[in-house]
């Protein structure tokens, strides 16, 4: 396993004392920690591609933690976020959780709570990363299909028979069969349900 596989805990807190103590705490459980005083520092910094999570103070000098969460989401950066705050009112908590926060901790928190949440987040992230990897593989395969094969696959997963497909495309049944066989081969699908699941994951909408 490469270095990139070492889980990283990112910490963003403008309060130096708080930041350093969390950093120290994370390291004390043998996790890799990287801390930033501002969101900007975090965004501009280079991140290893590996399981990670973000411990984020709600209140930051440049933007608020909630804003950063929105921004990351918009940028397609999926990273589990653990919010910490001096106080927590319900609206803020709801908003954060809705936006996909892993947990919302109020200072001062029990260190075990924080560490548990961090571990859970990392686990979750790891799972997500696995799924994303598989999807990427499928997409790669799907990309190798020719246009006609794509059409054929689309019609196959829609549940049409070869005959129907041939009629639909104006081709002979034999030709459809050949295409269909090549699709199965390229997509490495063992069976039709397998292909259907792939199509589902690739979010290929069934032909009408």
């Amino acid at each position: 396993m490469s270095v990139a596989e070492v889980p990283t805990v990112f910490i963003i807190d403008d309060d130096a004392g708080m930041r350093e103590s969390i950093h120290d705490l994370v390291e004390s459980v043998s996790l890799h920690a990287e801390s930033f005083s501002t969101a900007q520092g975090f965004l501009s910094g280079e991140r290893q591609d590996g399981p990670s999570c973000l411990v984020l103070d709600v209140r930051l000098p440049d933007t608020s933690g909630l804003d950063l969460q929105q921004e990351l989401s918009r940028a397609g950066i999926r990273i589990p976020i653990i919010f910490i705050t001096g106080y927590a009112d319900i609206p803020m908590t709801v908003k954060a959780m809705k936006s996909g926060a892993v947990e919302f901790l109020t200072k001062p928190f029990r260190e075990q709570d924080l560490l548990d949440v961090i571990h859970r987040a990392l686990r979750c992230d790891r799972g997500i990363r696995e799924k994303q990897k598989q999807l990427a593989e499928l997409q790669k395969r799907y990309g190798t299909l020719s246009a006609r094969e794509d059409e054929v696959m689309n019609l196959v997963v829609s549940g049409l028979l070869n005959k129907q497909i041939a009629a639909e495309l104006g081709a002979s049944e034999t030709t459809v069969k050949i295409h269909r066989g090549r699709v199965m081969q390229k997509m490495q699908a063992k069976s039709l349900p397998d292909l259907v699941r792939m199509a589902d994951r690739l979010k290929i909408s069934p032909h009408r």
């Binding site: 103590s21 969390i22 001096g86 106080y87």
Partner: protein
């Protein structure tokens, strides 16, 4: 008249009747008479008688009066005769032809005879006339011969004497008959020679000319005679007779001899006189020079002859001399000319040529005599005088001294050749270049500024010693040891320097003559030096005096200008005014105008005119004039008024008469103004004392008296009749509680001679209590004795009261401010909790981490220690926050100024507000300028202001998300500008001015004190607080603080 006419006509009758008309009348009358006689007398033959009678008459007339009258008478007679012929009684009638014949015959005879008669008459007359003339001529000649002053003689061809004139006879004593013995009268020594000469002449027929001595019979003396004889020859050349004269030449002879003797004598004299004398012919060529002349020019008489002498004349003068000589000869009068003659040794000397003409008896010039006089000395003196005049003219003209001295040098160099003149000026202990036009520039520059001493070349030494220094050879003279290199390259070999003295005997310069060869001065040189030195002295001194005069004049003018004092003079006799420049300046008029009395009066202020005129009139009437002063004003053209002070002083001549009035006019406008200002300032001081309730006083130590200003009396409420002169009186008015203290304080000041300052109360007679503040300082004499205490006392009752009031208000304000702070902190309670929570949370986390590090196996002590350090740090941070809050809570603390960083204060306040802002979704932003100067301010008060503004901003945004921005910057005029802007509801425009009023609030729970307190705090710091509405949303509050508050 008539008698005279008669007489003359008688005389004419007596001699001859000359008048032709008269002659004709006589002729007619004679014929008439004769006819009448012939007619009346009875004659026998009247015809014949008549003819005879008439013929006789005709002849007579013809004889005396000539033919023409005879012809006339003949005609008349013929007429009468024809009338006589007829018988008596008959009128003219020729009846008989015989008568006609008779008549014709008569006429013929008459005319012929008359003609003949006339011829006869004329011949007789001519013969008579010739005879008379011959006789007269001979007589005249004889007379001439007899009377002529020479002795005349004649001799026969054989030599025998024929005739001697009377002179001869008288002289020799020999009568005409004894002439044969004339030889006896000849001087025996001359006789033989003379005889020989005479014989020769006789033999040859040559004219005789011989000088002989003849004895004078009268005294027996012999006298010289020149005997001359000429032969009278006939047509064949034979000698008929000898004629001659003997002229007495004794006197001639004698004079001739005397002349010769005198000429010899003259020659002797001429050669012995010391003058140069000469003579010249009428054509101008010289024929004689005396020995002295020849010796002088070194020419021989032959060389000098004719025009030879001109070689000795100076070439420059030759033309002029020749011209003069020509004009003298042309006029023929005594004449003079000046020219230089070269002496045998080559030296030229000036001579005056004087020529005198010698004339003969007829006035013709026969010769010119001349004398040349040596005028070199005079000429030199003249030249010197001319030079001196020229130099003095330059001095008078005000030419620069260098130019004058150059002129002197050039002038001296003109006088003689072969040397270079130099004049140096003495300036302190240095020599300064004066004039040396011929010396090389490099040399004069080297000399300029030389400090002179006992051995400093010729000039330096001469200036040092004050006596003449003759250096014969620069190359060897020890005086030139240090200056040789400067002189020798310019081939200057000798230098004679003479100090130039002022009339006070001070050395003011040196005059030097440089030669290009070693040389010592002749007596003539020394003489020249003396004269020139004197001239140089005059020039330098005149120039120095002139400069000193100019300087002093300019000082005077400057002094007049500075003191605004002009001087004037009025000549009583001529009425002319003199004004110095300053008066023109005072009157602001053209300095070229001619001042007049009318002008003065015109310029005088109308109100002062009468005064001045009256004053002058009074003064002029007085017999004795004294100095008088007058003050008056003048009005200038630009209507400026000036105050003048005039002084006049009469100048009296020997006879006691006032000739001139001199005086000054001083512009005293400034002084008048200053006096006026002083007076006004005194007035305003009293006024100021009255207004400020401040009185002044003096305590005189010697007399113990107290002198006070009127305001003191007013402050103390003293009645006019009270005696206020003692210190006791004043102490007595003091409040009983202060009396002892003040008295001691005052007495201590007087004892120690130190300044006094005291605050105390007095009690007026009506029981009013006043607070006073007194200040005094001691006045010491020169010896250090206390003379008096001078002080002021101010009634500070009002001020005290105001101060107390102010103090009360301040306290109130402080209380309010405190209340405001407490209120604000209450509002911020949750935020404060967060602020405290932060370090506490961090500390707990760190403590956890620490435990974990320790729990590692083996324990990671390093990391554990780091965690512990962080715990300590966070703990301290929490304590700091508590501390700050406590300061904020403190009540009634007086403001304490310290160095404050406004950005830091803003940071602290933002920290306090952060949670509060988060709760209300308000983002806090800062734009803080870096490197702002620190200011001297009360930190807590500034925190309070900022907190007030920030809370206001947040409250304005309650219920809606927004931005709260705090900015700091320094402005161009040295202020710090802090602004807090929100995006809230904004300001109620119509109530903008009420914002800062106390108790004005828009908030339900507000005290309405925040902004008012904030504004009073900022203003106490010398700043300003104001609000503006934002362009988009919300409001901005600004305040400034002066950066100078930085110490």
């Amino acid at each position: 008249m008539g008698s005279q006419g008669d007489r003359s006509s008688d005389m004419m009758h007596a001699r001859a009747v000359e008048n032709p008309i008269l002659r004709l009348l006589i002729c007619i009358a004679a014929v008439g008479v004769l006819t009448a006689v012939l007619y009346t007398v009875p004659l026998h033959d009247r015809t014949l008688s008549a003819v005879l009678a008439f013929l006789f008459l005709v002849w007579t007339v013809s004889y005396f009066w000539g033919f023409r009258y005879a012809l006339f008478v003949s005609l008349l007679a013929a007429l009468a005769f024809s009338w006589l012929l007829p018988p008596v009684g008959v009128f003219f009638q020729l009846s008989d032809s015989r008568d006609i014949f008779a008549l014709a015959a008569f006429l013929f005879i008459g005319i012929t005879t008359s003609y003949l008669s006339d011829r006869v008459r004329r011949e007789a007359l001519n013969a008579r006339r010739a005879e008379a003339a011959a006789r007269r001529s001979e007589e005249g000649l004889r007379e001439v011969i007899e009377t002529m002053p020479a002795m005349a003689w004649s001799a026969l061809p054989d030599g025998s004497n024929a005739f001697v004139n009377r002179q001869w006879a008288e002289y020799t004593g020999l009568s005409a008959e004894q002439t044969a013995g004339w030889l006896s009268t000849v001087h025996p020594e001359d006789a033989s020679g003379h005889t020989e000469k005479w014989r020769q002449s006789l033999a040859t027929g040559q004219p005789l000319e011989h000088e002989v001595r003849l004895r004078r019979i009268a005294d027996g003396q012999y006298r010289w005679f020149l005997v001359r004889g000429m032969p009278l020859r006939d047509e064949h050349g034979g000698v008929l007779k000898w004629y001659g004269i003997a002229t007495d030449i004794e006197d001639h002879k004698r004079a001739d001899e005397a002349l010769r003797a005198s000429e010899r004598e003259l020659n002797l004299i001429i050669n012995t006189i010391p003058a140069l004398s000469w003579s010249a012919r009428t054509d101008g060529t010289a024929d004689f020079f005396n020995q002295h002349y020849l010796d002088f020019v070194g020419l021989s008489a032959e060389q000098a002859q004719d025009w030879g002498w001109t070689v000795a004349v100076h070439p420059d003068d030759l033309g002029g001399l020749a011209g003069s000589w020509q004009s003298i000869m042309a006029t023929g009068k005594v004449g003079e000319a000046e020219a230089r003659l070269r002496r045998f040794d080559g030296e030229y000397r000036w001579f005056l040529f004087r020529a005198n003409p010698l004339r003969d008896e007829s006035g013709n010039i026969v010769k010119w005599f001349g004398i040349n006089t040596d005028i070199t000395a005079r000429k030199r003196a003249e030249d010197l005088l001319t030079g001196e005049k020229r130099i003095l003219e330059m001095v008078a003209k005000g030419d620069p001294l260098n130019q004058i001295l150059d002129g002197v040098c050039r002038f001296v160099e003109e006088q003689a050749s072969g040397f270079l003149a130099s004049v140096l000026l003495v300036d302190g202990g240095r020599l300064r270049h004066g004039g040396a036009p011929s010396l090389p520039r490099t040399y004069t520059d080297a000399i300029d500024g030389l400090t002179f001493g006992p051995s400093t070349g010729s000039c330096g030494t001469a200036a040092y010693r004050g006596e003449q220094v003759i250096v014969v050879d620069i190359a060897t003279d020890p005086l030139w040891e240090n200056y040789r290199e400067a002189a020798l390259p310019h081939s200057l070999r000798a230098c004679w320097s003479t100090p130039v003295f002022s009339s006070q005997g001070k050395v003011i310069g040196t005059f030097a003559m440089y030669y290009r060869e070693p040389r010592s001065p002749s007596s003539h040189d020394l003489e020249t030096i003396e004269q020139i030195t004197h001239l140089v002295g005059v020039a330098i001194e005149r120039k120095l005096i002139q400069e000193a005069l100019q300087r002093s004049e300019s000082y005077l003018a400057e002094a007049q200008r500075l003191t605004h004092t002009g001087s004037w003079a009025w000549n009583v006799r001529t009425g002319a005014y003199f004004w110095s420049q300053e008066i023109f300046r005072i009157y602001d008029c053209d300095p070229r105008m001619v001042p007049t009395w009318d002008f003065l009066i015109e310029k005088t202020h109308p109100e002062d005119r009468a005064k001045i005129e009256r004053r002058v009139k009074i003064e002029s009437l007085k017999k004795e004039w004294k100095d008088f002063e007058s003050d008056f004003r003048i009005v200038l053209t630009d209507e400026t008024i000036k105050h003048l002070h005039a002084l006049a002083h009469p100048v009296v001549d020997e006879s006691g008469e006032i000739t001139e009035v001199v005086g000054t006019i001083m512009d005293v406008t400034e002084r008048k103004r200053a006096e006026e200002k002083l007076r006004r300032s005194e007035e305003s001081l009293l006024e100021a004392q009255r207004l400020s309730h401040m009185g002044s006083w003096r305590h005189d130590i010697a007399s113990g008296a107290v002198i006070v200003s009127p305001e003191i009396l007013r402050i103390f409420g003293v009645q006019p009749d009270e005696d206020t002169s003692s210190a006791e009186f004043w102490f007595g008015r003091n409040h009983p509680e202060d009396q002892q203290r003040i008295r001691e304080l005052f007495e201590k000041s007087e004892r120690l001679k130190t300044d006094y300052e005291g605050d105390y109360r007095i009690v007026l007679t009506d029981g009013t209590i006043k607070h006073l503040h007194a200040v005094a300082h001691p006045v010491l004499s020169l010896s250090g004795e206390l003379v008096e205490m001078i002080g002021t006392t101010i009634d500070v009752t009002e001020r005290k009261r105001a101060e107390e009031e102010r103090e009360r208000l301040r306290q109130l304000e402080t209380d309010l401010a405190h209340m405001n702070r407490v209120t604000m902190l209450g509002e911020l309670a949750s935020s404060l909790a967060h602020e405290l929570n932060q370090p506490i949370a961090a500390a707990i986390t760190s403590a956890n981490a620490c435990s974990r590090w320790l729990a590692h196996n083996p324990p990671d002590l390093e990391r554990a220690r780091a965690a512990a350090t962080r715990i300590e740090h966070d703990g301290s941070r929490a304590a700091e926050i508590i501390q700050r809050l406590r300061a904020f809570y403190k009540t009634g603390a007086p403001p304490e100024r310290e160095l404050v960083d406004i950005n830091e204060v803003a940071g602290e306040m933002l920290a306090l507000l952060r949670d509060e802002a988060d709760q209300h979704s308000i983002s806090l932003r800062t734009e803080l300028a870096t490197q702002l100067p620190q200011i001297m301010a009360d930190r807590v008060q500034l925190q309070q202001v900022l907190l007030n503004l920030l809370l206001n901003g947040m409250e304005a945004m309650t219920g809606r998300a927004g931005k709260l921005m705090i900015r700091s910057q320094s402005t161009e005029d040295g202020l710090l500008l802090i602004s807090v802007s929100d995006t809230g509801v904004g300001l109620p425009c119509e109530k903008l001015d009420q914002l800062f009023r106390a108790f004005y609030t828009t908030k339900p729970q507000g005290t309405g004190m925040g902004l008012a307190i904030s504004r009073s705090i900022i203003e106490a710091h010398g700043g300003r607080l104001w609000a503006t509405a934002n362009a988009e949303r919300g409001a901005t509050f600004h305040f400034t603080l002066p950066a100078e508050l930085q110490p």
